[in-house]
């Protein structure tokens, strides 16, 4: 048994503890630093904005980063055509309130003219990649802000905060730039662009705590409400033109909320009584399922579903 001395760093708190920053302050500061670097360095940045909670938080951070100047960065929504109407209304109201430009890349347009074909499983999430890459190329966007978080998925856990995409929009996870200290490197060659994930280090719980602290408004379906749903693969889906219940799937009214907001055909609701931010935080903290595990059919396809989509240029 060693007899080496007691380590001084653990020797108690004789000295008052140094001022420690609150977790949300640190996460906010890191995100704002990244947003400001990209806005300063790149010529044509754009913010991906779906009306989902992560992109709402990102937009809030962007307005805070540049306050009191108005946000001049446009937003881009890749519209699968299967959106929740209340989320689209929220999207439009937000854009109007901030006075920013909204670009919409429509999956439906691509399906209508044959550039894309509907998948047999009906989900449109993987179909978003092509319209996204086309919109980036057409508008010559060189910095694309996404609300992706590393805690969402194993492939996202490997993502850099500023992540290079080649001329084909592809991500090469085996050859990523080192990110060092707090110095942000957004350089890239013509035709390439960078994806920027200011919320990389946030967890779902951090997002909700920040929404509470900053009093950020969200689409109503993030809170408990009555909705007609049916159960499939352990998920509660809302019936609609894109998710029709089969004969053995019974539709009934339940009190639910959405933990994520995506394509209606593959985004499930969870049973919940959480009507306020505080109640949602309590619920999320106690949840035994991840948000994607609980609510996203498309990520159950394989262990590498997200990785495969990301390599092709998905968010």
């Amino acid at each position: 048994m060693t007899t080496l001395a007691y380590p001084s760093t653990l020797a108690g708190q004789e000295n008052p503890s140094p001022m420690q920053h609150d977790l949300l302050d640190l996460l906010e500061s890191e995100a704002i630093l990244v947003i400001r670097e990209v806005v300063a360095e790149l010529e044509r940045p754009v913010i991906l904005f779906s009306g989902g909670k992560d992109s709402v938080v990102m937009l809030h951070l962007a307005t805070k980063a540049l306050w009191p100047a108005r946000l001049t960065v446009p937003v881009l929504h890749v519209d699968t055509g299967h959106n929740f109407p209340e989320v689209l209304a929220f999207r439009d109201a937000t854009v109007e309130r901030l006075g920013i430009t909204l670009h919409v890349a429509s999956v439906q347009d691509y399906l209508d003219d044959g550039r894309l074909r509907e998948r047999t499983d009906g989900t449109r999430n993987p179909l978003q990649t092509l319209p996204l890459l086309d919109a980036i190329a057409a508008n010559r966007f060189d910095g694309v802000f996404g609300g992706g978080r590393r805690d969402e998925d194993k492939a996202r856990a490997k993502e850099r905060i500023v992540s290079l995409r080649d001329a084909f929009g592809q991500w090469d996870p085996k050859n990523q730039r080192p990110e060092l200290w707090r110095t942000v490197n957004t350089r890239h060659r013509p035709g390439e662009h960078v994806r920027v994930f200011p919320l990389s280090n946030w967890t779902e719980l951090d997002i909700w705590r920040y929404i509470e602290r900053e009093r950020i408004e969200l689409p109503s379906l993030y809170y408990a409400h009555k909705r007609e749903v049916f159960e499939r693969d352990g998920m509660l889906l809302a019936p609609g033109p894109w998710s029709t219940p089969r004969d053995d799937e019974q539709v009934r009214a339940e009190t639910v909320r959405y933990r994520t907001v995506g394509d209606m055909s593959c985004t499930g609701a969870v049973r919940s009584q959480a009507c306020t931010v505080g109640e949602v935080i309590t619920e999320v903290a106690a949840s035994t399922l991840t948000e994607r595990g609980a609510t996203r059919a498309d990520d159950r396809i394989s262990e590498a579903a997200m990785e495969d989509r990301k390599k092709e240029g998905y968010f």
């Binding site: 380590p7 977790l23 306050w67 890239h188 991840t290 262990e303």
Partner: protein, 450 residues
């Protein structure tokens, strides 16, 4: 000093953030340890656990719990080859702390990955296989940790269940680490014996290490004091915010503020400050965090400063404490961690990024390289991937560089390829190679492993 900790004080009740980076060699069980840390802190949710249980069974795993290494190996190729390719980030929390864990793989681009993880880390967790003890990779990792001046080092002696006379093995490793610690001029190093596979001493004490009376790994991580980023105030300006007609409120059209983050120290309203590039002095009249004014801001918070006078400040300038201004320099020695396959030769034309400023630069001279195997410094004329070299940089425009020993942020720089923007090297201003005379390390004793 490196030691077995014997007791732990209660951690501070303020929930805050600890950035943790792991470093280990191939097959020392790092992914399993990280998986165990996540699993035993209940950070793995039911669907994630189900997924790795299924995957473990498909791969013929027969252990009692799932193969916890699968929790961190996120890429298809990693799972296929059973290796970790790139840094992965994981998140877990206890009642007192949230942890951001950068899981850095220990092969091929080992230095690149470790430098990436360690540059922002509050603590680096170095793994050692109890059966092998201190190996070359351990020296390499600790040399990088020393060079990057990571505040804390914790060594986990893993697979302690696989050695006989575990207590003696552990004591031997503690002594070897102590030698390394002296050579590399590290502060405290804490050594904890663990079995990641069984979970002993990771979160809970374990029956296989009854001889060990110290805290578990998690208890150590929860109680490490967080270093303040003190030193004189430095504020690299990112943007000048002058909304004019584009203000969110018509009353703010005359607003003029300097957006950035406090890189070191604390800025307070009323402070005398100096613009590093021009030497012009003024005073801080307000600090804004978005629409909320605050009295002070310390590193690493992002804020906007308003100043008493309309001075000439643009992106790339540094606003600094007037009492201790930085000096501008056009030439500096620096230690570079070379992170790219493209080799470095003297005369290379590069870009140097410091804070929010990027200037053209010339690598005028390459002096010496650290031989990681022997931790001795040898003359060098070039650098290749994973090399640690000391060079002289000549800058096209002067920068307010400060010694890395004074500030991890004001003293760090990136070397960038001007052609494609790739980050070629991590640079530490006026640093010495670990183990060399300039590091302040005592001369190597006869008992050293040289």
């Amino acid at each position: 000093m490196s030691t077995t900790p014997t007791a732990i004080e209660p951690a501070t009740p303020t929930p805050t953030l600890l950035r943790l980076a792991t470093a280990g060699s191939v097959d020392d069980g790092k992914s399993t340890l990280v998986g165990r840390l996540l699993h035993d802190t209940r950070s793995v949710l039911a669907d994630q656990l189900q997924a790795i249980e299924d995957a473990s069974r498909r791969r013929g795993w027969t252990g009692a719990v799932a193969d916890l290494a699968l929790l961190t190996d996120g890429l298809r190729a990693e799972r296929e080859q059973g290796i970790t390719i790139d840094v992965a980030y994981r998140y877990f929390a206890t009642a007192t702390r949230s942890f951001v864990l950068a899981d850095c793989p220990g092969h091929v681009q080992y230095t690149r990955n470790t430098v990436t993880g360690a540059s922002t880390a509050d603590v680096v967790l170095v793994l050692i296989d109890a059966r092998h003890g201190v190996v070359e990779q351990t020296r390499r990792h600790l040399a990088v940790v020393s060079l990057l001046r990571v505040p804390h080092v914790v060594v986990a002696v893993n697979k302690i269940d696989l050695v006989e006379n575990a207590a003696d093995v552990y004591d031997g490793i503690v002594l070897d680490i102590e030698d390394l610690r002296r050579t590399l001029d590290l502060d405290d190093v804490i050594v904890v014996p663990v079995s990641a596979l069984h979970g002993d001493n990771v979160v809970e004490p374990g029956p296989r290490t009854a001889w060990y009376a110290g805290p578990t790994l998690l208890e150590v991580l929860e109680s490490l004091p967080l270093e303040e980023e003190d030193g004189p105030a430095r504020f690299p300006v990112q943007l000048v915010i002058r909304p004019q007609h584009g203000a969110v409120d018509p009353s703010l059209t005359d607003y003029r503020g300097y957006a950035g983050h406090v890189a070191s120290g604390t800025v307070r309203v009323g402070d005398e400050v100096v613009v590093a590039s021009s030497g012009v002095r003024t005073r801080v009249v307000a600090i804004d965090r978005g629409p909320d004014p605050v009295e002070s801001a310390s590193a690493p918070l992002s804020v906007t400063l308003r100043l008493a006078d309309d001075v000439d400040i643009s992106r790339g300038d540094v606003i600094a404490a007037a009492s201790t201004p930085p000096t501008l320099t056009s030439s500096t020695d620096a230690v570079l961690c070379w992170l790219n396959e493209r080799p470095l030769a003297p005369g290379a034309r590069v870009l140097v990024s410091h804070g929010t400023r990027t200037v053209r630069a010339l690598v005028t001279e390459i002096h010496e390289r650290l031989d990681i195997a022997t931790l001795s410094v040898e003359p060098a004329q070039s650098a290749t991937l994973n090399d640690l070299v000391r060079v002289t940089l000549t800058l096209a425009e002067p920068l307010p560089l400060e010694p890395y020993s004074q500030s991890r942020h004001a003293g760090s720089l990136l070397v960038i390829d001007p052609h494609d923007g790739w980050t070629l090297a991590a640079g530490m201003v006026a640093a010495a190679l670990p183990g060399s005379d300039g590091a302040g390390a005592p001369p190597l004793g006869e008992e050293g492993w040289l």
